[in-house]
Every structure is written in C-alpha cells, then in structure tokens.
Amino acid sequence: MTQLSVFDVAGPVMVGPSSSHTAGACKIGQFARALFHTTPTKATFYLHGSFAEVYKGHATDKALISGVMKLRTSDPRIKEAFKIAKAKHIECVFKKKDLGEKFHPNTVQIVLENSSRKLSMIGSSVGGGVIEILRINKFDVHLQGRAGKYLSIIVCHENHGSKTFNKILNRIKKLGIRIINTQTTKYKDKNLTIIATDGRDNKRITIKEVMDIEKSIEGIEFIRSLSKLEKQ
C-alpha cells in the first residue's frame, strides 16, 4: 500500500498551467541548483521529447530557470523568470535535443557552469509533479523526488577501496542521522553515492555540516545535501 497523503490529493500548491510541464520542471531545476550549490553564470537546457515540443505553451522554460534560481513551485515570480535571471546575470540557453528513447518524453538535460565548475544532470517529470533524476555528470542514478521527500545526501568520491566511503558514512552516523540505504554508481576512478536518510523524527543534516565533511575528509570531489529542497 502506498499510503497517499491527503495533501498529495489536495495539492501541490503550484503556479500553472501544468503539473508535469511547469511544477515538475521547476523541481528538476531546483535539484540541479542544489547539486551545483552556487548561482551559475550560464545555464543550458537540452529539451527532449514532449518538453521540446510544447515547452513554450506550458512555460517549461520559465519553470526550469526558476528552479535553478531556487524559486519554489508555488512562487508567482516564475512568470518573470527571464527578467530575474537577467538581473542575476545568468545566461540561459534552450536547445532541443534527442536524448534517446530510453528517457521519458518529459525529460531535460541541464548543464550549469561558472568560471571554474560545470555540472550536467538529466531529469524527467513523470506526472503530477513527481520527478526522477537519472544522470549526474557521467553517473547513471535513480532518484525520485516529491515535495517533502528529498532527504538524500549525494557524494562524489574516489574509489580506491572503500576507505573514503566508510569515513563519510561514519561521520554522518556520528551526527545522529539515520541512514536508510545507499546507492553507488562507478565511472572510471570515481564513485557517486546517493545516501538516503530518515528525516521523520530524527535530526537533519545542515549545510554547515555538509561543508565540514567536504573539507575534512580527503578524496571527496563534492558532497551535497538535498534537505533544503524539502518544503514546496
């Protein structure tokens, strides 16, 4: 039994017109931003399938860039996304691209960059505002997101043995955070691990704690917490 929430039915509160093409797109943008961590100077969106066909009518473009600027799905400023992006000096590029048949029709690849870093991510909006993240940089992942359920910590680390990985897990456990499961993907000499945590009654990880882990443990390329994305 799935145990739907009353507020899955009476919600989400969102800016129109479409839950999959607007609200879902905004959430994919938020994920990319959380993974990139700072305001990018350039955002490129490669639109696939139905996103490429009808993005203008459903304001998918505005919703995506709004997400990258950390606006919530219910924020009326989504309408003025391009203006806000200009004021924040974010260069936005939209391109149509066929990402392949294995992806859902509502899929987008987002590339965020600034002078020193670059992040690429592929996400799909699968209906009713529910989204899935399927690729982060070169790593194939599977991460489902719905309002109030993003409690994952994402780490990219070196994979000589499991030394670095165990250190990270121990640090998180020491902070009093319960780990539900982990999902690791390999690519060349790097690993990407998604650590799902239980946020129901327990403590949640703070941004400061995340940054501390990144600084103090060797062999981590980046570590990000998605707990900030929780409330919609």
């Binding site: 929430s5 009353v6 899955d8 017109p17 009808v54 009518g57 459903h58 505005k62 989504i78």
Partner: protein, 299 residues
C-alpha cells in the same frame, strides 16, 4: 495503521467504528501517516483553502487573455451577471459556482498560483462548488475545511483504485474525479451521512466515466476550463439528489473499478497527447500551428 483506507468500504467501516464523519477520519489518517498533530494537518488544509480563495478572487476580477488567446475573462462575465441574473439558471449558487470554477482555471492558464486539487486540469471544480455553496448557506470556515477533507478522502480512494492522471485515464480522472470529490465534500458540509457522501460521489463519477482528454494544442485551457464549471454544477446537482433521498444503484467502489476498466480501454490519442478528438479538429489544428506543433491529421 489504525485509520488506513483504500476503498469506500473500509472508510465507511472506520466511520462506523469511531462514530465520526469522513472528514474526521481523513484528518486522523493524515496525522497518523505523517506523524504530525491534527492541528498541523488542519493548518495545511487552511493553506490550500487560502490559495484557492486567492485564485478565485484574482480570476473573477481579471479580464486578461491567456498567452495564446484561448481563454480569459469568462469568469468575470459570469460574475458580473450575478447582479442582474437573467440567465436560465436563475440561481446565484450555481452561476457563482461556475464563475469561481472558471476563475481558477483562468488563473492557472495565466500562470497564477492554484492548488492542484486533485490536478491542475480539474482544479476549479472543488473551489467552485464548495466556496459558492458555503457562501449560500453561510457555512463557517471549519465546515468548509470539513468538506475539503472529505473531498481529499474520496480522491485517495480514486487514486488507489484507478488513477488521477489524464495521461492514464483521460478527463474522467481529472474533472470527473474532482466532481465526485466535490459532490461528497458538499454533502458532508450539508450534514449528510458518510453513506450519503459516497452516494453523491458515485452519482457524480458515473456521469463522467469515459470522458476524453483532448485539449487544443495540449494546453490546459480548451475545453478544460469550461468543463470545470459544468463539473462544479454537476457536483451540486449530485449532492442535491442525494439530500432529496436518492441513492446510487452502483456503490462507489464499483464505480471506481469501472473507471479503471474504462481507463485501460481508452486509446492513447485521447489521453493528454493532443492527437485525437477536439485537438485534431480544424480549430485544434489552428492552435497547433500557432504553437509550432506537428499536425498529424484533421477531422
């Protein structure tokens, strides 16, 4: 879990066991499920109510057209007509319900803020029916919230037994589901029993079985917005029938099963793809052209 339900049958048993209404069970269920206090759950619903109210208020005032000129200003026309009431439906409750339902649809099309209750496409029905009737019998705020909780419970049962997505089940899953939900919520607000709430929901949903989702250009505007208005009126009518003593011959759980069966036999062309029905008429293709979409066929 103590308050879990997937079907009308289970929910009715819970109502009997605890001697309370559907809305009360829905509240307790949510509190139990999320581990939050009843008051927090109620605040969540209050927020949904406030957002819907804002959307209605914005919508009845606005005469702005949507981006591709497909909708806008109709809620205002209806709302203005309330003062003279020369319409056939010479009844403020229904005309106002239509105005409110269209207002939410137009707000959605203009990228305003709405509550997807249960989805963006059917978001006008519940505020339309519930708000207009609440004004009519001067219902308190709590009474309105009770109606909304009951509506949500019906929505959960439909989602569990069939679907709330037009991509899977066509418009019966959006406006149809919303109409059933609104009818039940309204019946509870009027003091109907849990059984009566399900009779209203069953009567409403039965009339919407098999409804196609074929909007022009794939946009949530034509025919969606006006369909919301008629859905709100249908919800009021279904509730009226039940309060007058009429019962649904087919129980609600069976109607949901029928809805799921029909959803499975519906062609993909009429499930939110804009490849059939109204979307491929002459007018539909004009809109597609404007949007730069591929035209496949014309009726």
């Amino acid at each position: 879990m103590k308050y879990e339900f997937d079907t009308a049958d289970q929910l009715l048993k819970l109502c009997k066991k605890h001697k309370c209404s559907i809305s009360e069970i829905a509240k307790r269920y949510e509190a139990e499920r999320s581990g939050k206090a009843i008051s927090t759950v109620r605040s969540g619903m209050k927020r949904a109510r406030d957002v819907m109210y804002e959307a209605v208020k914005e919508g009845v005032k606005s005469t702005k057209k949507s981006k591709f000129n497909l909708s806008g200003g109709d809620a205002n026309k209806l709302f203005q007509s309330l003062s003279s009431l020369k319409l056939m439906m010479g009844n403020k409750v229904t005309v106002r319900a239509m105005a409110y339902a269209i207002a939410v649809g137009e707000t959605n099309a203009n990228m305003g803020r709405i509550v997807a209750f249960p989805t963006a496409g059917g978001a006008g029905v519940i505020p339309g029916a519930l708000f207009s009737c609440a004004e009519h019998f001067k219902a308190g705020k709590r009474q309105l919230l009770r109606g909304m909780f009951t509506s949500s419970a019906i929505g959960i049962i439909i989602a569990e037994g069939a679907t709330l997505s037009a991509a899977k089940g066509g418009c019966q899953a959006e406006v149809g589901a919303a109409t059933a939900m609104a009818a039940a919520g309204l019946t509870e607000m009027r003091g109907g029993t849990p059984e009566q709430c399900f009779h209203s929901a069953a009567i409403a949903l039965k009339s919407y079985l098999g409804l196609a989702c074929d909007p022009l250009g794939g946009l949530v505007e034509v025919p969606c917005i006006k369909r919301n208005a008629l859905g709100a009126v249908a919800a009021i009518s279904a509730s009226d029938m039940v309060i007058a003593g009429i019962e649904s011959k087919v129980p609600f759980d069976e109607v949901v099963k029928a809805m799921n069966d029909i959803a499975e036999s519906m062609s993909e062309r009429i499930r939110e793809t804009a490849l059939g029905g109204l979307a491929i008429t002459k007018t539909g293709n004009k809109v597609k052209k404007k949007l730069g979409l591929k035209i496949t066929k014309e009726l």
